[in-house]
């Protein structure tokens, strides 16, 4: 099940927005193959009759009242930003020229 190709790793890196180098992709391809082989063990016991568990402590209906609470000031909001215009966050263009 877990034959992972370099192309797949490159695709995953793109989904995860990490500009991996060719060398990293190659290295990760091998490692991921090994790790996936180890973790595939879960399928041995994960039979259809077993329900999945998402939360270790089952609870439900945890809601907040619709009441305004503490918020950040615009200065606090922007304080950590790599770039801002004093009101908003600045990012470079979203689409490349070719698009």
């Amino acid at each position: 099940m877990s034959e992972i190709s370099a192309e797949q790793v490159a695709h995953l890196a793109n989904l995860a927005r990490i500009a991996l180098t060719e060398e990293e992709i190659e290295h990760l391809t091998t490692e991921l193959g090994q790790i996936m082989q180890a973790v595939e063990k879960v399928s041995e016991v994960a039979t259809p009759d077993v329900p999945p568990t998402s939360h270790p402590i089952p609870m439900q209906n945890v809601f907040r009242d619709d009441v305004v609470g503490d918020i950040l000031t615009v200065e606090q909001a922007l304080a950590g930003a790599p770039e801002s215009d004093g009101k908003r966050f600045v990012v470079s263009a979203i689409l490349g020229e070719e698009q």
Partner: protein
Amino acid sequence: MARAELMDFDEALELFEPVIGLEVHVELNTRTKMFSAAPNPANSEFHGAEPNTLVAPVDLGLPGSLPVVNGEAVRNSISLGLALGCSIAESCRFARKNYFYPDLAKNYQISQYDEPIAFEGSVEVELENGRVFQVPIERAHMEEDAGKLTHVGGSTGRIHGAEYSLVDYNRAGVPLVEIVTKPIFGGEADAPALARAYVSTIRDIVISLGISEARMERGNLRCDANVSLRRRGAEKLGTRTETKNVNSFRSIERAVRHEIQRQAAILAKGGTITQETRHWHEDTGTTSPGRPKSDADDYRYFPEPDLLPVVPSNELIEELRAALPEPPAARRRRLKSEWGFTDLEFQGVVNAGLLVEVTATVAAGASPAAARKWWTGELTRIANARGEDPAALAEPALVAELAALVDEGVLTDRLARQVLEGVIAGEGSPREIVDARGLAVVSDDGALVAAIDEALASQPDVLAKIRDGKVQAAGAVIGAVMKAMHGKADAARVRELVLERAAGADADADADA
């Protein structure tokens, strides 16, 4: 960009059956956001706040921050689900939809995936021509809105060619309910009108529930239209396109019609439709290709581990069901009879998507006839000229006030139209505008001219200045005339007449009036 080839609409209908699907996003008007206690800009009280002033840590995706569900938003979503005739899930969950985009603070959207809060419903929709459709609802689910991007640089202010973008996260986390229809068959030539009427009906429903401001121009209600064509006689459905963010009633109808014609032209030539999102351009009335559907749409949904299942009790569901307002179709039947409208009159209001506005205007004190006249008349005329929805132009309460001024004899219809322009321009309430502009019923040019001539005669230096091109000198004359008329003259008209009289019969008409 080459303009897409279009097939004649009737011809397209002969060859193909249009199948539409609609996704409507409703911004709820709760006081706080879906997952944070920050004020909700989709609530009128907080609308228009300065950028990034309505944000809690979770709205910025700050490390360590956690979402907590707004219980009121859940109640509203259940109410909406019930109003759409849906079943309410015994238990449902939130899920993360993972994709990177700078307006998405966490780079995942908290949404619902395989377990929506409401599913399998149906909405009665009535068309202009009286046809009634049952639009099948697939699901309604809760999610959060994204922030807002402003593209800077480049000529169009659009994403293409922009040099950089600015991000405001005020809208991030605004509670949304996404309502998804099943494929709608049988619309045929009415498909575009059906799309419009459906969205209009959704708007009526959320307004009657009081759960959204539902102002399309503010993005409180947004529509994505899926369109595909099926060749006559074929079993198989065609490939669909999804036209994004079509945000006025007019545009919805136009966009669906445009896609039918565009796709038909391609298919008739033996071409294929690309499954893609398309962008609607209000100015040209066309769509252009966006991103093709691809592997990049691998959203890697998984149950949101920071949130717990929502398990609405039967008591809650029944409490909300009991509090549901009258369904739109029943309500329309009642209003028509209460207002004493003819079929034609009432249908005109409904078809224009103005039922909500007329209702609100009547509620604010106007007669049904006057409310109908203003909304379907002057306001619609101005809106059409501007390519906007009439509802975006004026608050119903102000229209009611205007109608009252006419009823009181303070304004003639002609002056009232001028006052309305002031209202649309944001100059204030009709009464304020009447005062500020000095608009009143004395509009008899003869009386005004007499007063002007008298004033000019008594101020010969003013006359000379105006003839020298110093038109601002006219102010002294206008003031005298307004005084003589006890303020009940249309100052703009007086100014016009002063300049005319001063310039003489052969003067240029380009005087700065």
